[in-house]
């Protein structure tokens, strides 16, 4: 377990040394969400309706931006190989990296989202649902995205290819996550949405680290 926390510590340290990379992802999130009112018009009722979808899609795209860096630098400088050859199980270290990615990329989105929600005139109840749904959903995005990042490691056209591979797999999370927020704003019950999100999270935790590790081993070969 020590190794698990050590790798999270390492990732945090690396991001602190080079803050700009992590911050660009957050700025992207802010910019993308601002584009929609600019493109559609400032009709408040309409904005309130599209807010869940817009915020969630922006979260998906921002996560994908951050995924490209997940394994790329380790692959380039040889530390990924060392992780594969460590006495500590590789899957544990990979799990640590994914957790660190969520802490550095997903969690900030959860904190930023309410502010965007206010820009779109969402009420307090809806904002609360938004935060909770993103809290459940962003780890799933990191987990599934890691598989795509591992598959496209070092491959030509990696960034766009990653998006093509991962976005279809994100669709269930988008549907349940945005659906939950929409349901709250319409006054409906969100229990079902959250149960499904939680189920997806459990499924992702159970399978994604192993699929990612297998894909990484293939990339390292």
């Amino acid at each position: 377990m020590n190794a698990f926390f050590a790798i999270i510590h390492r990732e945090v340290l690396l991001v602190l040394r080079r803050k700009s990379e992590a911050l660009t992802v957050l700025f992207f999130f802010l910019i993308v969400t601002s584009l929609f009112p600019l493109g559609i018009g400032a009709d408040v009722a309409l904005l309130r309706k599209i807010a869940p979808g817009v915020i969630w899609v922006a979260a998906l795209l921002s996560t994908i931006l951050g995924l490209q860096r997940l394994f790329a630098s380790d692959y380039a400088d040889g530390t990924l190989e060392q992780m594969a050859l460590s006495p500590t199980p590789f899957v544990l270290l990979v799990g640590g990296k994914i957790t660190a990615h969520w802490l550095l990329c997903g969690l900030p989105l959860v904190f930023l989202a309410p502010f965007i929600g206010i820009q779109f005139d969402l009420d307090l109840e809806t904002l609360r649902t938004l935060i909770l749904a993103l809290l459940l959903g962003t780890p799933i995005l990191s987990l599934i995205g890691a598989i795509g990042a591992a598959l496209t490691l070092g491959v030509r056209g990696g960034g766009v290819l990653l998006s093509l591979l991962v976005l279809p797999l994100y669709i269930p999370v988008l549907i349940f996550g945005a659906g939950a927020v929409f349901a709250t704003s319409a006054g409906l019950d969100v229990g079902g949405h959250f149960s499904l999100l939680a189920a997806l999270l459990v499924l992702a935790i159970a399978f994604a680290p192993w699929a990612t590790t297998a894909a990484l081993r293939i990339a390292i070969e």
Partner: protein, 256 residues
């Protein structure tokens, strides 16, 4: 070469011997015309039933007949994805190149079926509901399935090393297979949430027996077509990937 040596007494067919591209190549050549024949046969009977035997629908008139292409194409796209994932899994478990080549051969036809399903869906939708595209659960799932096929093909095309491309594609296909039911379920959920149930292609008219037969026959036609095409494609892939080996160099068709 990963040829598995089983202690065969010679009386039983050694299936694993066919996992060598060299042995499978001529076998595929012999099987292909057989499947083409079946495909044409099923196609003729199926189309005849679709257009002449099945009665006109009370509500939709004759325009509904495109269902005989649309539904089989949808079914086939699903079947092909399952088959592709199965071959990919076999290739991963047994480390056989041929299994991975089969998966690679199936993908384009799967994408074609998904596209055909969407295209015919649009042609059905326009006269029926006045829109080229409706966000129906089945159509939307079909669209996502098309993306999954395209993603698989794009990934394999982007990786230079063929063995790595095989294994990476296999993992993607397996992840996809787990996700397809989840995606379908979530899209169905989304559809009932946001739209009335008025627009739904799965609410087909009460099926006359003949209509069902027409669809089944057309499905068989597409299935045989898929197999024939996959066999042809896999032969091309074998030639391309094994081009350096001796048995390819001595092939009749290349010695022209």
């Amino acid at each position: 070469m990963n040829i598995m040596h089983s202690s065969s007494s010679g009386r039983y067919l050694n299936w694993f011997s066919f996992s060598s591209p060299a042995t499978f190549y001529p076998l595929a050549a012999r099987l292909t015309p057989f499947f083409w024949g079946l495909s044409i046969l099923f196609g003729i009977v199926g189309l005849w039933i679709s257009f002449f035997v099945a009665p006109a629908d009370a509500v939709q008139g004759d325009g509904y007949r495109i269902i005989f292409i649309h539904v089989p194409a949808s079914w086939m796209s699903m079947v092909i994805y399952m088959a592709m994932a199965m071959w990919a899994a076999l290739g991963l478990i047994f480390n056989t190149r041929l299994s991975a080549m089969m998966a690679q051969a199936l993908a384009p036809t799967g994408a074609l079926m998904a596209f055909l399903s969407l295209w015919t869906g649009a042609f059905w939708g326009k006269p029926m509901w006045g829109a080229w595209w409706v966000w129906d659960a089945r159509l939307t799932s079909e669209l996502i399935l098309l993306f999954l096929f395209l993603g698989f093909m794009a990934l394999q095309a982007s990786i230079d090393d063929p063995r790595r491309a095989d294994k990476a594609g296999a993992i993607l296909a397996l992840v996809g297979v787990v996700n397809v039911p989840i995606i379908y379920f979530s899209v169905t959920w989304w559809n009932t949430l946001h739209q009335g149930a008025s627009v739904s292609m799965s609410k087909a008219p009460a099926m006359a027996h003949t209509m069902l037969w027409g669809m089944l026959l057309m499905t068989m036609c597409f299935w045989m077509y898929t197999i024939a095409l996959a066999l042809m494609r896999v032969r091309a892939i074998i030639l391309e990937r094994e081009s350096h080996s001796d048995w390819v160099k001595t092939l009749k068709e290349l010695r022209a």
